[in-house]
Symmetry: C2
Subunit: 249 residues, 2 copies
Amino acid sequence: MNSLNFTAESSSNGMVERDFTVGGVPGVLWSPASGTAERAPLVLMGHGGGAHKKHPAMTGRATLLVHGFGFHVAVLDAPGHGDRPRGADDERDIAALRKAQAAGEPVGPIVVPYNARLAESAVGEWRAALDALQELPEIGADGPVGYFGIALGTALGIPLVAAEPRIRAAVFGLHWPDALTEYARRITVPVEFALQWDDELIPREDSLALFDAFASQEKTLHANAGKHFDFPRFEADSAARFLARHLGH
Amino acid sequence: MNSLNFTAESSSNGMVERDFTVGGVPGVLWSPASGTAERAPLVLMGHGGGAHKKHPAMTGRATLLVHGFGFHVAVLDAPGHGDRPRGADDERDIAALRKAQAAGEPVGPIVVPYNARLAESAVGEWRAALDALQELPEIGADGPVGYFGIALGTALGIPLVAAEPRIRAAVFGLHWPDALTEYARRITVPVEFALQWDDELIPREDSLALFDAFASQEKTLHANAGKHFDFPRFEADSAARFLARHLGH
């Protein structure tokens, strides 16, 4: 088993930030500065496409979870993102995406297989990272674990949560159902799922079908007026409360 | 103009409860016990069908709004509900409803016209009550006003909010679109709208169509797994936060 290899530590505003690698994959762990005396739940967060582990959306959500609820929050760079090298496949998919965007063509036929390919590596990377994170005394092997990831974070997160019984609640949103429906059907933990009602990239019916597929007895859809990139910031507050309700603390 | 005629006052657990009538319609006003020194926003709440102004759902939601945010909360008995007499029309509609329920037949064709008939009286009653409530110094004529009503509270509330420019944000849910879509198209204030994903009474497509009809630039749909009467209690917390975000305080 790979252990966490801590490479940097800093602290500001009541939050400790520790960079790490695990099995060569770079990640970050944010924790309450008040320390490691008491175990606290862990939230795994997946970043969006083209972003990285310390994107402002990640630090903002981590702040909500660490300050608001005393949780630990971990993010890994997705394959080909952040501090990780891009392969030829990545370059090819990104070039195709830029071309479709420039031509005003649908991006789903490119994003769906691109992200599904990333999920093939990312699920194992996340599970190994979770093994290593649970070795830390302030997290522990049997503590509650949640997942929060939108867009690419959902494309990687739905297969992860389907495979990983340690994850007890998850927040997803903003992705196509094509490569994810079968995984969603295996998920039974509480889910909060967000879509944009006027999404110009993902057809509304497709998003509703993906929400419908979750086998969870408790699942909540949050649909907000607006286009794909209008995803409102108050959904992060809602996600934090949802995770707190299910992970306790 | 009718003034509020206060008929009883009690206080418990940090909340003052004042019964009143306005133009002969009985209502209740809950306020922070800390008093009337400072103006605070007002939330009008509509109760569900067969319920009344002091139904536990009303007192529970009022507690969230008064304790959590220092708001004033007013509820009127709907026509034919609570302390108000039932007319022959009410008896006829309720008998038809019981018969359909007993036979396992769809209730929409009865509830929709029944509730639309109640709205014809209730909208004017609510507007007169709002006039009178705004005469109170602790509420005031230009303070923020919100609305929160599910089921019958939505059947009365959507026509009310469409007619009433003083209401700045509203929470609705769990009703058929038939008599409400035209009113929803006139509503432009922020709306939070709840439906039950597995509602056995209201077809999912009908609920989605009603949400779609609101002209509001900010609107959020909350769809929860479960049947009609499984409407989860955490939606009241969400509604209170939504109203606090838009009414301030």
